[in-house]
Amino acid sequence: MSRLAEKLAQQQFVMTAEIAPPKGVDVTSALARAELLQTMDAINVTDNQGACMRMSPVALARLLIEQGYEPILQLTCRDRNRMALQSELLGAAALGIENLLLLTGDHPQFGDHKAARPVFDLDSVQLLKAVAQLQQGVDMAGKALNHPPRFFSGAAVAPAAEPQVLVLKKLAKKVACGAQFFQTQAVFKRSQLESFMASAGLFRTPVIMGVLLLKNLRMAEFLNRNIPGVQVPEDLLQRLEGAADPLAEGVKIAREMVVLAREFCQGVHLMTFGHEDLLPQILADPSV
């Protein structure tokens, strides 16, 4: 059982963050970033994030294990058909990777290889199901494996996306197909999280809430315009605009979101984009 799975099973609050594999073969800076994330329970390793080609996340996840970190391997359906996904999963298991975050993946249109053929042979729900089946020792063709892999399967959800009823129905399917935990898109609004968790909480599947460090107003507006499922509300935009030190205000907002996560969720997923040094401040108790 992975440390992440164990901690969640013991109902301890968990913290995760993410790093992207390098574009190239030098992993020095990726490993240096991992070092700044030492206090995290697990580190997500993104899979050609934003449809931009980078090193295989399986390779970086293994290198993280060798350095004593616990990775969450992200795997998308965009670049691999069902055979490639299953064989990647078996390879990951053989390399000691246990935590997975199984995603449909961004469309190539958003990335740096726009001419690439989008695969999407499976969607995230079908991939979760395939992983569950592999763990029972059978592949998607019904063939027996000589030894089944053991995984802790996660899935993604965007609590702020509308219509929420569809988001919740998809979440229910993911749970039914073997999702053991969720990591969410960034949350910025208490009421949204509250209504989301009122339904999502019923599944008794741990939810690790996304907290994103807003560096300034421009970044917040960019997110609102370009990132589906992320909505920075008006009052936060005003706070960033009025702040003498927008980054400090962003840290304050993130800290408030961590408090929300502690109230409603089972963990927090921190997205700090190069400001990992601010993590202690974001995680500090705001009442002190």
């Binding site: 965009r78 469309h107 249109q109 989008p118 999407f120 969607d123 079908q126 395939a130 959800v157 009823v165």
Partner: protein, 223 residues
């Protein structure tokens, strides 16, 4: 119908470099509706070619370029002109081009790019609704195809890119799963949304496709 769009004049110019005599072929079916290979376009192309100093030794508009045997037969009627041409330029879908290329050893050039199987919204406005995937799931999706209408072909509800019911790939469009949901709701068939849809059997989309009618066509049922 097969929706296609003309290749740019620059691209055609490069393709035709070194050729002086041409035979032009159009198609009276889809290519005529798409305004890429009907009488008008064949004539306009001829004028353009001749203005560029080339000689169009003959032209014809086939009834349906996709009909292999008929295309071959009609082309034979123009044999002397075809024999004079260094190259044949075909203004039809890729299927039509291949009907022609299969019945002559002369080089055959495609003058248009084929896009998709399309429905017609109104004159000159086409939309892709069906991907010809070989295994129709419309009966379970309120008559709206997610294989085609979702850019990712997601079969189990909206992806993480849905925003306010819109698609992340094209914000102008509804998320097709939001649309399917609304229609199922009206039909009081929401349970159809909740079921887990299995991975698609892409062996049904074997390439190249081949199909032979059953021995008793017209009965409406595959025996």
């Amino acid at each position: 119908m097969i929706i296609s769009t003309p290749k740019g004049r620059e691209e055609l110019e490069a393709l035709l470099a070194g050729y002086r005599t041409l035979f032009l072929v159009g198609c009276g079916a889809c290519a005529t509706v798409c305004k890429v290979g009907g009488e008008d376009e064949v004539f306009a192309t001829q004028e353009w070619l001749e203005a560029g100093g080339r000689e169009v030794v003959g032209s014809m508009v086939l009834k349906e370029a996709c009909h292999v045997m008929r295309a071959a037969r009609e082309l034979r009627r123009y044999r002397s002109q075809v024999d004079e041409a260094e190259v044949l330029l075909v203004l039809s879908c890729g299927g039509g081009v291949q009907s022609i290329s299969s019945c002559t050893d002369t080089r055959v050039l495609a003058g248009v790019d084929s896009l998709f199987l399309g429905n017609i919204r109104r004159f000159g406005e086409f939309e892709e609704k069906c991907s010809l995937c070989g295994e129709c799931i419309l009966n379970e999706t309120a008559g709206i195809c997610p294989v085609t209408n979702c850019p990712k072909g997601v079969l189990n509800g909206p992806c993480g890119g849905m925003e306010d019911g819109h698609c992340e790939v094209d914000a102008e469009r509804d998320c097709i799963w939001a649309k399917i949901y609304r229609r199922l709701e009206k039909q009081q068939r929401l349970a159809a949304f909740d079921r887990v849809v299995e991975a698609k059997d892409w062996s049904k989309k074997f390439k190249p496709g081949r199909h032979q009618l059953a021995r008793n066509p017209g009965s409406g049922v595959e025996k």
